[in-house]
């Protein structure tokens, strides 16, 4: 076929109609505190891993909520589980469990 220079572009929008939010519902069940996040970013600011990579917990939590699993599968593996984030969270979210459970979920739903 002739190449007209056009490509099918990936949809940039977060498509709430088609996104798969099962991970979020799973997390809501096993760690309900995830719902409390207001995205203040304290967790990301204190993060030990954030010094080395782009790992960004508050963003990951947002992606989880929006059903954007693709973005987090690799990111979530970078966490050292040191627990600083759960200490600074003003909402008292059990961030460590969220990361742990996300990994577990992604591992068993590959």
């Amino acid at each position: 076929m002739a190449d007209f220079g056009y490509k099918i572009q990936e949809d940039r929008q977060i498509n709430y109609d088609s996104n798969d939010r099962t991970l979020f519902y799973f997390l809501k069940r096993v760690e309900p505190s995830i719902s409390l996040c207001i995205g203040c970013g304290t967790c990301s600011a204190t993060c030990t891993v954030g010094q080395f990579t782009q790992f960004d917990l508050h963003k990951i939590m947002l992606y989880v909520r929006r059903g954007e699993k693709v973005h987090i599968a690799n990111e979530i593996k970078k966490c050292m589980l040191c627990g600083k984030c759960s200490l600074v969270c003003p909402k008292g979210i059990n961030t460590r469990n969220i990361i742990f459970q996300t990994r577990k979920f992604l591992h068993s739903n590959k």
């Binding site: 207001i38 995205g39 203040c40 970013g41 304290t42 967790c43 990301s44 600011a45 204190t46 993060c47 954030g50 782009q54 960004d56 508050h58 963003k59 200490l87 600074v88 969270c89 003003p90 909402k91 008292g92």
Partner: protein, 348 residues
């Protein structure tokens, strides 16, 4: 003989309520633990959102305090008894005062920023509270840091001791956001070369003219707003502070050195409020403030008959709202003491 009211706490609410009650013909006695009337207003130079002088408001309040009001400053309450609908208030000199109704206006204390250890207050020289900055403004002296240097960059940290389960305060203190915006613009007026940054979670510009002040701060004063809550501050060799924050709107971590870090400390029920609540067995809410019987309709009524509250004794509020509330409390007490039929709506 006209009925008497004792007002405990001579801040904004106590003064304004006393003025109204006295004007309505009640015998008013006002107790204040400090030397002067005025409460926290004494420590504030200018007020949001218009930056008018706090002293002007204080003057207005003082004018309401007519000669009939018996004012007792430097006074602590040790005991309160009640008998046949009358209250007997004992002060620290064991003098007993009688009243038909009590109004509690013991107010708030500022959050002790040392409890937020990671922000370094009390550990690092150049971490100060919003109240301390206000003292600097009030003193009229040049704004300098502990090393005597004129700051080139100042950071304001919102929500210190508010909206934070880790310090046990889940509520919003309502005035810190707009105070930070006010103070940042004032810094720019004092020190035009000094950059100012506000680190916030949410900007709550809900009051009249608040949004206008915010617009002005951005447009006229060039205050930079960064949406991200500080995780920790570190001291550098020269005494400046390295702050770590996630710029959540950009989605990247941000670090910045500031010469002065101002913590916007929130409200907590004052020691006086807690003491009075204990003495009178008043119910308090989960945040420690005194609970009113109905948060919509009976905003000045407590669980004890004849005991009323006003101002920041029940929750954080602005000066404007404190004055509203004081007048509302005066009206409520008048209804109670004069047995107006409208009072029958109160069930307790």
């Amino acid at each position: 003989m006209s009925k008497s009211v004792i007002v405990i706490g001579g801040g904004i609410a106590g003064m304004e309520a006393s003025a109204y009650l006295s004007a309505m013909g009640f015998n008013v006695t006002l107790f204040e633990k400090d030397e002067k009337l005025g409460g926290h207003l004494l420590n504030w130079e200018r007020l949001f959102p218009t930056k008018r002088l706090g002293s002007e408001v204080l003057t207005f309040l003082k004018k309401g305090m007519d000669d009939k009001i018996k004012v007792h400053t430097n006074t602590n309450i040790t005991k309160i008894n009640s008998e046949n609908g009358k209250y007997f208030v004992t002060n620290h000199n064991n003098e007993i005062f009688e009243a038909d109704a009590l109004l509690i206006t013991t107010g708030y204390d500022l959050f002790d920023a040392r409890r937020k250890e990671e922000y370094g207050y009390g550990i690092y020289d150049n971490v100060i509270t919003s109240a301390e900055l206000e003292t600097m403004f009030l003193s009229g002296k040049p704004i300098v840091n502990k090393q005597g240097k004129v700051p080139k960059r100042i950071g304001f940290v919102h929500c210190v001791g508010s909206r934070d389960r880790k310090v046990g305060n889940v509520y919003c203190s309502k005035v810190c956001c707009v105070t930070a915006v006010k103070q940042a613009t004032e810094i720019r007026e004092h020190l035009p070369d000094c950059e100012t940054y506000c680190f916030y979670m949410d900007l709550r510009m809900y009051g009249a003219k608040f949004e206008e002040l915010y617009n002005e701060a951005q447009e006229k004063y060039g205050v930079t707003f960064i949406r991200g809550r500080l995780s920790e501050a570190n001291e550098t060799i020269d005494g400046s502070l390295l702050v770590k924050v996630e710029d959540t709107l950009v989605g990247r971590p941000l670090k910045m050195t500031v010469d002065l870090l101002v913590l916007m400390v929130g409200f907590e029920p004052s020691k006086g409020t807690k003491d009075i609540a204990r003495i009178l067995n008043l119910s308090t809410n989960s945040n420690g403030f005194i609970e009113v019987v109905d948060e919509h309709t009976l905003t000045n009524v407590t669980n004890q008959k004849g005991v009323f509250v006003a101002g920041t004794t029940t929750s954080p509020r602005t000066i404007t709202n404190t004055i509203y509330d004081a007048r509302a409390a005066a009206a409520e007490i008048a209804c109670y003491l004069n047995l107006y039929t409208i009072e029958s709506r109160v069930k307790n």
